[in-house]
Every structure is written in C-alpha cells, then in structure tokens.
C-alpha cells in the first residue's frame, strides 16, 4: 500500500513526542456505510501534517473521528484506536478533548453568524478555567495574528467575508489554547491569495505558538508546501504517505494531484476517460 520507502518521518536530532496516533480505524455511518477502511496516521508534536485526497476520500471523517464529532452524524468508530499524547481518547466527549488540547476547525468555517467576531472568539475559551486575564491576553494574541479581526470585532460574524470567517474560525480555536488543531479544508471557497495568507499564518502559529496542525486539504500544491509530512487518502484508505518533499516529487502525486507529468502540464483534452462532452450538455 505504500509506494514510498518510509524513512524516519522527521530528520530531527531528538525524536519529537507523538501528539496524535491513529491506528487502523474504521468508521461506519448509519451502521452500514463503511467510510474509513483502516486508516492509520501519526502526527508528531510541533509538526504540520497534511491529509490529502479528493472529495469523499474520507478526510473530514478522519478528522471528525479524532475529535469525536461523528456521533451527531450517526457515524461510529468501529475498529482501531486513537491516542492523543499516549492516552486513548476514542470515548471522550468533544468538550473533554478540547480541554485536553485537541480541537477541530470544521470545514466551511462554521462561525456563529449571530454573534460578533469577538464573541465568536470568546466562545473558544469556554472550556478554560485560567481566568479572565489569561483569556484577554490570548484575545490580544489572536488579534495580533489576525489584525483584520480586530477591526471587525463588533461586526456579526455572519456579515464578514469568507476569508475573515476562516480567520475567525481559526482564532476561535486558538482561544482554547490547543496543542493540536485539526484544520479541515481552510482553503475552501477562498481566493488563491487568501489561501496563501491563511497558510502563512498557520505556519507562523506552528512556529511561534508551538501549535501542532493536522490539515485536511484538497489544494495539494499549497498543503505540501507548508506541511512537513503528508498522507494521501483514497476511498477511505491511506494509499501513500511520506515527507512533503518526497510526495511532491512522486510521479503519481504529480500526475494525479498536482496536474503535472513528465511531459509537463497535461491537458485534459488528452485524457480519454474524461467525459467532457457530457459536462456541456
């Protein structure tokens, strides 16, 4: 299943601790639909790891399995184990997981539209018990990373732009003082320039605030530039994994995910199986 020889994932002097280890999980929706068929992955502390794959490959399901948000969608982890810093977390409630420092920024931003930007950020601090002063400090920290949010702090989050909403969602997650953030498709529906800006901030947060990220993305190009390690999911299975540079140089990844091949950029005109005609009818 693994086309690449797997080197030690990170060539750092001291092996970092494992923040998250997912071992061979299966997820079933509605008791019958098998969506994840044995997914394993590892996120070392302090890294940005990306989870790539097309629509329906199982990226979101994997993240929700980790953050325990599957229940509301009648999904269930039926096999395998998920450990966060060595502890089994598969049975914990989402709010207990947040308290331990693992939380998800859901796909499509999901800001609270009728709350102001600042109120949105403050909801992220719900599980914290370290006092108002500490929360206020972190609010300023979030504003320093996202100055645009500070300008719009009194505006209802439903009325700000998509890019600002993504920033608001990430900022809200930061307010919980997470150790690991599961970021689901931050690039969704955003202009390329904004995507770059968001990833730039994720990178800074990773370096300066020591937040570990597991990012699910369809935008393979951007994700592999910022991540250190990547997993590629297809049909609920990990089909390929490796350090980001290795994935970027892999011929299959180039062809199927980056739209490049040995002969340069490939035109869709040359792909016979692509039913172009039907699309136009």
């Amino acid at each position: 299943m693994n086309a690449l020889a797997r080197p030690a994932p990170f060539d750092q002097p001291a092996t970092p601790r494992t923040a998250l280890a997912v071992h061979n999980i299966e997820v079933v929706y509605d008791h019958v639909v098998l969506v994840l068929k044995g997914v394993s992955l590892e996120v070392p502390e302090g890294a940005i790891v990306t989870l790539l794959g097309a629509n329906g490959a199982g990226k979101t399901t994997t993240l929700k399995a980790i953050s325990n948000l599957l229940h509301a969608e009648r999904g269930e982890v039926t096999k395998g184990s998920i450990t966060f810093y060595g502890e089994e977390v598969h049975r914990l409630s989402p709010s207990e997981l947040v308290r331990r420092g693992c939380l998800q920024v859901m796909e499509g931003r999901r800001c609270f539209g009728h709350l102001t930007v600042e109120e949105n950020l403050l909801t992220g601090a719900f599980t914290r018990k370290d006092g108002k002063a500490a929360i206020q400090r972190d609010l300023e920290m979030v504003y320093s990373y996202f100055p645009r949010l500070k300008e719009r702090r009194k505006v209802l989050a439903g009325y700000i732009s998509g890019g600002e909403q993504q920033m608001c969602a990430i900022g809200r997650a930061l307010m919980a003082r997470p150790r690991l953030v599961l970021l689901d498709e931050p690039s969704m529906g955003l202009a390329p320039q904004l995507v770059e800006e968001i990833f730039e901030i994720v990178d800074r947060l990773n370096r300066e605030e020591k937040v570990t990220f597991l990012v699910a993305e369809q935008n393979t190009n951007v994700a592999l530039r910022y991540a250190r390690y990547g997993y590629i999911l297809e049909n609920g299975r990990v089909v390929l994994d490796g350090p980001a540079e290795a994935l970027r140089d892999n011929e299959d990844v180039k062809e199927f995910y980056l739209g490049l091949s040995a002969t340069g950029r490939k035109s869709f005109r040359d792909i016979k199986s692509y039913k172009r005609r039907k699309r136009w009818l």
Binding site: S67, L69, H71, A72, E73, R74, S93, P94, S95, L97, V98, R99, L103, Q104, V105, M106, R110, C111, F112, G113, H114, L115, E119, N120, L122, T123, G124, F126, T127, L156, G158, Y159, R172, A173, A176
Partner: protein, 301 residues
C-alpha cells in the same frame, strides 16, 4: 374624558393579560433560541408546574412547595435531555418538534395521573379585590387587578434577568452559540448536554412562573395547557428568537385583542378576541416573516 376612561381600562386590562401571554412565550423563546427546537411541550410544562405547586402546597409551606416544584422542573429538564434530546441529536428540526409533541401528551397525562385532574385553586395571597386607579380623573376610576400587576412585575424582572444572562455571561454566550450551530459549538468544546439541561431548566422555571400567574387567574386545570396556543401568535409577532420580542409581542396581542373587541366587537357581534391574535400573526408573517425582533436570516450575497 368620559369615554377615555373605559378605553384606558380596556387597554390596561389587555396589556396585563398580554404580559401573561408573554410569560408563556418566553419559555418557547428560551428553548428555541438555545437549541433550535420548537418546544411544543411548553404549555404542558406550564400545567405540570402549576399542578405540582398546587398539590405540594396543600401539605407543605408555600415557599418549600415552590422550591420543590423548581427541583421537579429541573429533574424534568434532565429527563427530557437524557431520554429525548440526546438520542435525537443531529436529527432534523421537525423530528425534534414531533418529539416535543410526544412529551406534551405524556406530561398532560402523567401530570394528571399523579396530581389529579380536578380544578384546583391557587392562592398566591394577593387580594382578589381590584384596585381603582385615578378615581379623581375618571368616574369610577380604572379597574386594575392586583394579580395582573404582580404578574407584570414578575415578567418584567424575569426578562431583565434573562437578557443580562444571555448577553453578558459566558454561559449565555455559549447558549447563543449553540443556537447558531450545534456542531460548531461542540467543536469548540461547549458541552451540548449541559447547555440543554440549563436551558430546559430555565424554561421549566419560567413555566412555573407562568403557571402561577395563569393558575391564580383561571384555576389550575387541564385547560391551562392550551394557553400555549395563545403564545403562538405572540411568538410570530415578536420573533421566535427574541426575549424582548416575546414581551412586546404579548403586549401587542393582549392590548390588540381587547381593543378590537371593544371597538369592532359590537359591530360584528363580538368574539373577536378569540381569533384577532391569529389574524394579526398572519399579517405579520406576510410582511416580516422573522417577526418584529427576530434574528434576521443572514444571507451574504
């Protein structure tokens, strides 16, 4: 001056009964605002709370009976969360609505099974004899019922407390977040179960207050659970998500139906006050579907 007296009296009476509608509507708004569930059982909760209070106060001192009834309403909230809401989390709103209809019938029946189905008198210790205000201005003065004044005062302070709770506390903010997006609220660590327990308990206490006010007026009996139906036009008028809207909506409906009865009633034979509120609600739906104070449906274009 001579005609103004009766009009004022009708208006005041209408406003006072409007406050009572508001009290019931308030319970709906609370639950809808924080969980997106239209809780049809609110009327049944009013009846259940009033019944519990009346029967308990027969052999317990009144304050103890109130405390015990509050405890019962919290236990009820816990049971509803545990047995109805938790298994149905993530289901469509209509399914949750149907579930609350089930709760309604259960509560109506169960309440009467354990507490009995007679008409009970609830005595709040407020004198039933009306006050006459401004007797020097109008002949005979304006007749006001002390019970209504008491209910209005309670409703007013309840609204004030709830507004502060919703807008300036951490829990209140979490409640509004849950109302906006269950799953996103869960993802930032807000425990839905606790939030629902808090909201249903609060709605239970509001139901108790409404039950006390209505019960002392009409007697505690099965028909009390139908006052919920009068809360529906209030909700539509004020907006399903607005606490001040519930109050103002109640006042408008209360005053409107009494004034309509007073002015138009004689011309067409009376009985207007039974359907006036619903026509008013219909008109509001056509012009302003979110109600006077309801949250605007945000759509970015």
């Amino acid at each position: 001056m001579a005609e103004l007296g009766p009009v004022l009296e009708v208006l005041l009476g209408g406003l006072m009964s409007g406050v009572l509608y508001s009290l019931v509507a308030l319970g709906f708004v609370l639950i809808f605002k924080a969980s997106g569930v239209f809780n049809f059982a609110q009327g049944a909760m009013v009846l259940f709370a009033a019944l519990s209070l009346v029967r308990l106060s027969e052999w317990l001192p009144f304050p103890v009976a109130i405390a015990l009834t509050i405890a019962i309403m919290i236990a009820l909230a816990w049971a509803v969360e545990r047995l109805v809401l938790r298994p149905l989390v993530g289901q469509h709103g209509l399914i949750l609505f149907m579930a609350t209809i089930g709760v309604t019938f259960f509560l109506d029946g169960f309440g009467q099974t354990i507490w009995g189905s007679n008409v009970y008198q609830l005595d709040l210790g407020i004198s039933a004899s009306p006050w006459f205000l401004l007797e020097n201005l109008f002949p005979g003065g304006i007749l006001v019922s002390p019970v209504d004044v008491f209910a209005a005062a309670v409703a007013g302070s309840l609204v004030l407390a709830l507004s502060i709770f919703f807008h300036s506390t951490k829990i209140g903010r979490a409640l509004r977040a849950v109302a906006d997006d269950h799953q996103a609220a869960q993802s930032v660590g807000i425990p839905l179960n606790q939030i629902w327990l808090i909201v249903w308990s609060t709605a239970g206490v509001v139901a108790l207050v409404a039950g006390m006010a209505w019960g002392s007026k009409l007697g505690v009996q099965f028909s009390l659970s139908f006052v919920a139906l009068k809360a529906l036009p209030v909700l539509i008028l004020g907006g399903l998500t607005s606490i001040p809207g519930a109050i103002l909506g109640g006042l408008i409906v209360g005053a409107g139906e009494k004034l309509a009865e007073f002015y138009i009633g004689p011309a067409i034979g009376g009985g207007i006050e039974y359907w006036f509120a619903y026509v008013l609600a219909l008109a509001v739906l056509l012009v302003r579907p979110q109600g006077l104070f309801g949250e605007k449906i945000i759509e970015r274009v």
